[in-house]
C-alpha cells in the first residue's frame, strides 16, 4: 500500500449511522462528497484507508461503562430502564438497530486518522464520518452517540506526548469536547459557533474559559446570527493566529461541521461556501507553521446534504491535498449520478450563485458585535503575550 501525504479514512460502515429516514443527520452526504471528488479526479481508491476494527474498550477513555452497555442494549432494540437518562429514545437520538456498531465505526475512523498522522504515515488525515462533538460521557445528545473526537484526543494523550489544539467550526457549540478537557491545559479547545441565545446547545459563551489548570485553554466565539462571510473570517483568522501563538500546538484536530451555510435548515449564520474554503486553508497554514503539518480533519454537522455538504467537504479534501480549492463548474457527471435522487437542483458551480443569497441589513451592527466578542475572548492571551515580551512569566 503506497500512502500519499494525505489519507481519506472511510468505511461503508459509516453509512449505517442512520437514526431514520427523515432524520436531519444523514450520512449519504459522505457518498455524495466521494462521488463529487471522483468525478473531479481528486480522489482515488489509493487515498482511501479503511479503519481497523478495534476493541470497544477504547470507548471507556471517555464514556461510562453503564452508558456503553445501554447503547449495546439499544442497538438490539431491547428494553432499557429510563432511556431518557442516557439521551436515548429522544427526538434527536432515537434508538436504531445496530447503533452500537455504527457509532463504533465512526470512532474507529477517527482513531485511524489520529494514528496515521501521529505515526507520520501521512501528514494530514480526513475522517468525514467523525466529528460528533455533542457526545457526553454518560449520555447521547444532539445526534451524537459516542464522542469520537474526545476519544481520539484521549488516545493521542495516552500514546504520544502532544499538546493538542482542537478547532471546531460547526455552527453549534462543541460542548461535549469542551466539557471533557475543561480542566486540561494540554488540550486547547476553540469553538466558533452561532450564539446560543436561541440555537442548540445554548452554551459556548465567552466566559467559558476552562477551570483549574485548564483555565485559559477553552476559547469560545459565540458569533451573532446572520454573521456572513467577512465578519466570520475576520474573527476566525485573527482568533486562530492569536491562539496558536499563545498555545503552540503539536497537532491540530479540527471539526468541520458545515452548517453555517445560508442554505442550512437548522442554523442562521448565513455564510457561503467561501468560508469552507478559507477555514481549511487557514488551518492548513497553521498546521505547517506550528505542527510540521500534523492535522486530523473530521466531519460534523451539515444538514443541506445536497447543495452544501458535498461541495464544502470536497473543498476540505482538496485543500488538505493541494491547498488550492476547486473553482468554476461542477462536473456534470456528478449530476448524472445524483440529480434524480435529489429533492432540489444540485449546484452547478463551486461558489454560490449570488442570486440565491440575500444580504443582511444589520451587517454593520453584527460585525461590531463580533469584533467585541473577539476582543473579549482574546483578553487573556493578549495579557499573556504582553507579560511574555516583558520577560515576566504570565
Amino acid at each position: 500500500m503506497s500512502f500519499s501525504k494525505t489519507a481519506f479514512v472511510y468505511s461503508d460502515q459509516f453509512l449505517q449511522y442512520s437514526f431514520h429516514e427523515n432524520h436531519p443527520f444523514n450520512q449519504k452526504r459522505i457518498l455524495l462528497t466521494k462521488d463529487l471528488l471522483y468525478t473531479h479526479d481528486a480522489l482515488s481508491e489509493d487515498d482511501i484507508i479503511e479503519p481497523d476494527t478495534i476493541s470497544p474498550t477504547i470507548l471507556e477513555l471517555v464514556h461510562t461503562k453503564e452508558y456503553i452497555n445501554v447503547i449495546k442494549q439499544a442497538s438490539e432494540l431491547s428494553e432499557i430502564d429510563n432511556p431518557e437518562k442516557y439521551g436515548i429514545g429522544t427526538a434527536d437520538t432515537p434508538a436504531f438497530k445496530g447503533m452500537f456498531h455504527a457509532a463504533m465505526s465512526l470512532v474507529e475512523g477517527t482513531i485511524k486518522a489520529c494514528e496515521l498522522v501521529a505515526n507520520h504515515d501521512v501528514i494530514h488525515a480526513l475522517n468525514l464520518g467523525g466529528g460528533l462533538h455533542h457526545g457526553f460521557p454518560d449520555r447521547a445528545a444532539g445526534f451524537c452517540i459516542f464522542n469520537d473526537i474526545a476519544i481520539g484526543i484521549k488516545y493521542l494523550q495516552q500514546n504520544y506526548n502532544f499538546k493538542i489544539l482542537y478547532i471546531d467550526t460547526d455552527a453549534h457549540h462543541g460542548d461535549g469536547v469542551q466539557h471533557l478537557f475543561y480542566n486540561d491545559s494540554n488540550v486547547c479547545t476553540v469553538s466558533f459557533h452561532e450564539t446560543g441565545r436561541y440555537l442548540y446547545p445554548g452554551t459556548g459563551k465567552v466566559n467559558e474559559r476552562g477551570i483549574k489548570e485548564g483555565f485559559g485553554y477553552s476559547f469560545n466565539f459565540p458569533l451573532d446570527a446572520f454573521t456572513e462571510d467577512d465578519s466570520y473570517l475576520d474573527t476566525f483568522h485573527q482568533g486562530m493566529d492569536e491562539i496558536c501563538e499563545f498555545f503552540r500546538p503539536d497537532i491540530i484536530i479540527s471539526q468541520h461541521g458545515v452548517d453555517s451555510h445560508f442554505l442550512d435548515p437548522l442554523t442562521h449564520m448565513h455564510c457561503t461556501c467561501r468560508i469552507f474554503e478559507e477555514i481549511p486553508k487557514k488551518i492548513h497554514q497553521l498546521a505547517h507553521q506550528y505542527c510540521q503539518g500534523k492535522w486530523v480533519a473530521l466531519g460534523g454537522g451539515g444538514y443541506d446534504i445536497w447543495r452544501v455538504v458535498p461541495r464544502a467537504w470536497a473543498q476540505l479534501w482538496q485543500i488538505l491535498n493541494n491547498n488550492e480549492p476547486f473553482t468554476g463548474s461542477i462536473n456534470q457527471e456528478w449530476h448524472r449520478l445524483w440529480q434524480s435522487k435529489a429533492p432540489c437542483p444540485l449546484p452547478d458551480s463551486w461558489s454560490d450563485p449570488v442570486s440565491q443569497y440575500k444580504s443582511i441589513p444589520r451587517r454593520k451592527e453584527i460585525t461590531d458585535y463580533n469584533n467585541e466578542i473577539l476582543e473579549q475572548v482574546l483578553k487573556f492571551t493578549k495579557i499573556a503575550k504582553k507579560s511574555d515580551s516583558d520577560g515576566v512569566k504570565p
Partner: protein
Amino acid sequence: MLVKEIMKRNVFTLAQDDRIADAIQLLKQHHIRHIPIINEERHVIGIVSDRDLRDAAPSIFDKEFDQNILNQSIGSIMTSRVITTHPYEYFEDIATIFYEHEIACLPVIYNKKLVGIVTEKDMLYTFIQLTGTHSPSTQIEIKVPDTVGVLANVSQIIAKRKIKIVSVYSYPSPTYDGYMILVFRIQTMNPLVIMQDFEKTEYEMIYPIREEDDEFQ
C-alpha cells in the same frame, strides 16, 4: 423558590467595636461588598457596604492622611435600621425590595438572629437558573392568545415529538394586546419538526431572530 434556597449561610460579620481597617481587610479577603454588624446574640444592629468604607477611607490622591481614621470603630459609620428578610420569604419579593429600596444586600433573620445573606448577585444567579441552559437545548418563543389552556396545548405539541422541556417562562406581548409570549428551552437540536407542527396551529413561532432593521442605526 424561597430565600433559604438561594441565600449564603456562611456570613462574614463584624462587631461594632471593630475597626474600619478590619472591615476593609474583610472585604478584600473575601471579595464581598457588605458586612452585617452583629451583637453577642447575633442580632443585626447595622450594615456596612463597600461604599460606606470608601467614603470613610482617605482619597488615593491624599498622600498624607491621618492613620487614625482607619482605627475608628465600624459603629461610627454603619447604617442602622437595617432592612432584612426571612428565610421563608419568596425570592421574587427580594427582587422587589432591592428595586424599591435601591439596595443590593439583605441579611436574612430568623428568630431575630442572623442566619444568612442574599445579595443582588445571588438574585441574578437565580434568574439565570430560571431562564438558563441547564442542559443542551434550543430556545423557542411562541406568540399565543392570553386564554385558558394555551400553555397545555403548546406543551402537548412538544411532548408528542418526545422532546423534553428544559425551562419555560412567559411575558405579555410588548406589541400585541391580549397575547402572551411563551419562552421555552427544549432539548433538541432540530426545531424544524416543531416549527412545522406550529404552522398548523393558531400559535405563531417567533423563531429564532427577528430580522428587522437596526433601530439604533
